[in-house]
């Protein structure tokens, strides 16, 4: 039986010239989604930050599979986090968290 809500998990790498934290990153993501697609678009993303690792500067985000393109475009358009110049590079996209972690491990090797 097909699942009602299909989701996508995104692994992103964050580069920032200054210091940043999860709240700063989350704020930058939402600001960019709102700027590009407005409140209606943002509501369709069902976006959430699942994991955030400051050491590796990586984050795992979850979104609706229908809004994947929209979220990817928003992440790529981030230029600032907490007023410091920054960029977010998409590493991997997967349908389940387990598969994403497996792919990430394989890529790290």
């Amino acid at each position: 039986m097909p699942r009602e809500i299909r989701r996508r998990y995104i692994l992103a790498k964050i580069e920032c010239e200054g210091e940043f934290d999860e709240a700063g990153f989350s704020d930058a993501v939402w600001t960019n989604i709102l700027k590009l697609f407005g409140e209606y678009g943002a509501s369709q993303t069902e976006l959430g930050i699942i994991e955030f690792d400051l050491e590796t500067k990586q984050a795992i985000l979850r979104c609706s599979h229908k809004a994947l393109d929209l979220v990817k475009a928003s992440l790529a358009s981030i230029t600032k986090i907490k007023n410091e110049r920054a960029s977010v590079h998409l590493q991997l996209v997967s349908g389940t968290l387990k598969a994403l972690r497996r792919k990430a491990q394989r890529a790290a090797k």
Binding site: L36, D69, L70, K72, S77, T79, A86, S87, H89, L90
Partner: protein, 246 residues
Amino acid sequence: MKFYVDLHLCPRLEDHAQTRMLIKKSAELGYKALGISFPLTIDQKEIEMVKGFCEDVGVDLVTRIDLKTRTSAEMLKNLRSLRRRFEVVAVQCHSKTIARQAAKDRRVDLLSFPFAGMGGCFFDNAAAELASKALSFLEIDMAPLLYLSGLQRSHFLTALRKEVSTARRFKVPIVLSSGVSDVSLLRKAEDYASLAYLFNLDLHEARQAFSDNPRVIIERNRRKLSRDYVAPGIYIVKRGKDCRVR
């Protein structure tokens, strides 16, 4: 892994550290060849130096010139003198006349339409038809999508959507480039391809515009600039005394 090319980097060449950093970062982001825009008066020594920076990080340098002329006559004069000095020739079309002239000239590889606020979109049907016959490519710089905001970005996206739709209608291939002079605006080709969704270019087309399309231009021009090239379709395949036809 795909062979990604960024055909438009604009470093401040007098700042060697910045140029080197831009090249290094591009290599880290997975680009295999980089088109660097040189000024008209550049000397060979400086080109060799930039080539050295590229070789250090294992990327291929593609020399490029951007023609920003006011009149068609000036553009033609520049094309005559510069075509054989650079591997890629791009024309920045600031007017309809320049756009038409550049579109029908086979020596021009890339047609670029800098964003000038609201108003004219110079890549119209006529220019697209001429470009498709002359095998020119439409170039779209991605940097303005990152540094513009608000209403300006919205107008820029409108212009891009029009250009992409016209290019599709007349089968003019598209090349996506970064067009950056600042390291912080550099992104992976895949990230730029995600951004292309904003102007109706799907992921497959966007990837092609970052890999296959620029590669076609580079290979075509390098063949033409080689000393074995005689005329379209005619190449020297062997030199020396043992070349007699039996």
